[in-house]
């Protein structure tokens, strides 16, 4: 059973998003995604002040045997990048919802966040994927 925290929103590309008190949205990849990928060895992310578009690729995660696109859950400007995770990408495997966060975005449209999958919807999506 995959680990799907109830206080986050999700994408069909297996990213999570958390709306912070200051309005920024923190983004990472889900427990399910890191399990599928295996040991992460490298992440390639946009830089602070770069503009990202919701649903579009914003970087890559490379594990020992695969490279995967990472999609931005929402559009906006990159406010912060987790430099410690870039230096120690295995944090994505060890703590995907904590130390393994990727970046924070200042959303251009806050309502975009509400359109992301709820935990229940993401769990249903995972079950559909497994059933295909």
């Amino acid at each position: 059973m995959s680990n799907v925290p109830q206080d986050l929103r999700y994408t069909r590309e297996h990213e999570w998003a958390r709306l912070e008190d200051d309005g920024r949205v923190t983004v990472g990849v889900t427990h399910f995604a890191q399990e599928q990928l295996g040991d992460v060895v490298f992440i390639d992310l946009p830089e602070v002040d770069d503009v990202v578009e919701g649903g579009e690729p914003m970087g890559e995660v490379e594990s020992t045997k695969s490279v995967s696109d990472v999609y931005s859950p929402i559009g906006g400007k990159v406010a912060e990048v987790n430099a410690e995770c870039s230096e120690n990408p295995v944090a994505i495997n060890q703590d995907p919802y904590g130390e393994g966060w990727l970046l924070a975005i200042e959303p251009s449209d806050r309502t975009e966040f509400d359109g992301l999958l709820t935990p229940e919807e993401y769990e249903e999506f995972l079950q559909e994927e497994a059933g295909e």
Partner: protein, 257 residues
């Protein structure tokens, strides 16, 4: 399934990127498989591998085309090998599951040649891989890292020696997987290109089946994939997307030197 003629490195990588894009856009459930050769010696580096000026210079001097794969991993020398590319949906298949699924076709193909190949069990992380160039740009692998110089989980071995190295890219529910089976001993040559000068412990098909041609290997691999995947596999007619369409969807950002 497409059995392609030999093409340049740029064309081959563009076609493979296009195969993945086409499969994603069409939400294609059947796998696409391409078996192909290279028009000339080509060094392909991984999607996030560092490429430095020294590597570019050595390739240029040796007349070796340098391209970047859409897939991950480290450098492979092509020209005296046969390469495969598979684009397929991964659904619930984790990375290693997908490798094992593709390996069924490769193992069945090598069986046709009388070789018993095995998937290497995962040995965990290949160690710290992060690399920085003097200019500060970063990559997953250093410029001198060669695919055949190490054996990690999902590689294929014959007699305990690596015979096929593979790499993967995942996008929106589909994956592209590349792999290379050397027919000749190119270990010294890639050692020179990468500046390591070393010979790795991998093997090559010609050592195990002297005289086998790329065409013969293609033929056996086609049969292997047909045996392993059954009805999934048809030859080009009626199944594969037209190559022109795949090429149109390809990425042009593959040529490095």
């Amino acid at each position: 399934m497409v059995v392609s003629p030999a093409r340049s490195g740029a064309d081959n990588m563009s076609l493979d990127a296009g195969m993945l894009n086409a499969a994603v856009e069409c939400r294609r459930r059947l796998p696409l498989l391409r078996l192909y050769g290279w028009a000339g010696p080509t060094l392909s580096v991984g999607s996030n591998q560092v490429v430095d000026a020294a590597l570019r210079a050595r390739c240029r001097q040796a007349g070796v085309e340098l391209v970047r794969r859409p897939t991950g991993g480290s450098a492979v020398l092509h020209g005296a090998d046969l390469t495969y590319a598979v684009a397929a949906p991964y659904a619930e298949m984790a990375v290693m599951d997908a490798y094992r699924w593709v390996a069924r076709g490769l193992i069945a193909g090598l069986e046709q040649v009388g070789l018993r190949a095995q998937v290497v069990r995962h040995r965990g992380s290949a160690g710290p891989l992060l690399s920085r160039t003097p200019q500060g740009s970063r990559g997953a692998y250093e410029a001198n890292r060669g695919c055949f110089s190490e054996t990690v989980g999902a590689d294929l071995q014959v007699g305990g020696r690596k015979i096929c190295g593979s790499a993967q890219k995942r996008r929106r529910g589909w994956f592209l997987q590349h792999g290379s089976i050397p027919l000749q001993d190119e270990r010294a040559r890639i050692g020179e290109l990468l500046g390591t000068g070393s010979r790795d412990d991998s093997t090559w098909l010609g050592a195990l089946r002297p005289g086998i041609t790329p065409g013969e290997l293609q033929h056996y691999l086609v049969r292997g994939f047909q045996n392993a995947w059954g009805d999934y596999v048809q030859l080009e007619e009626g199944d594969a997307l037209p190559l022109s369409e795949i090429k149109r969807k390809g990425s042009a950002k593959v040529v490095l030197a």
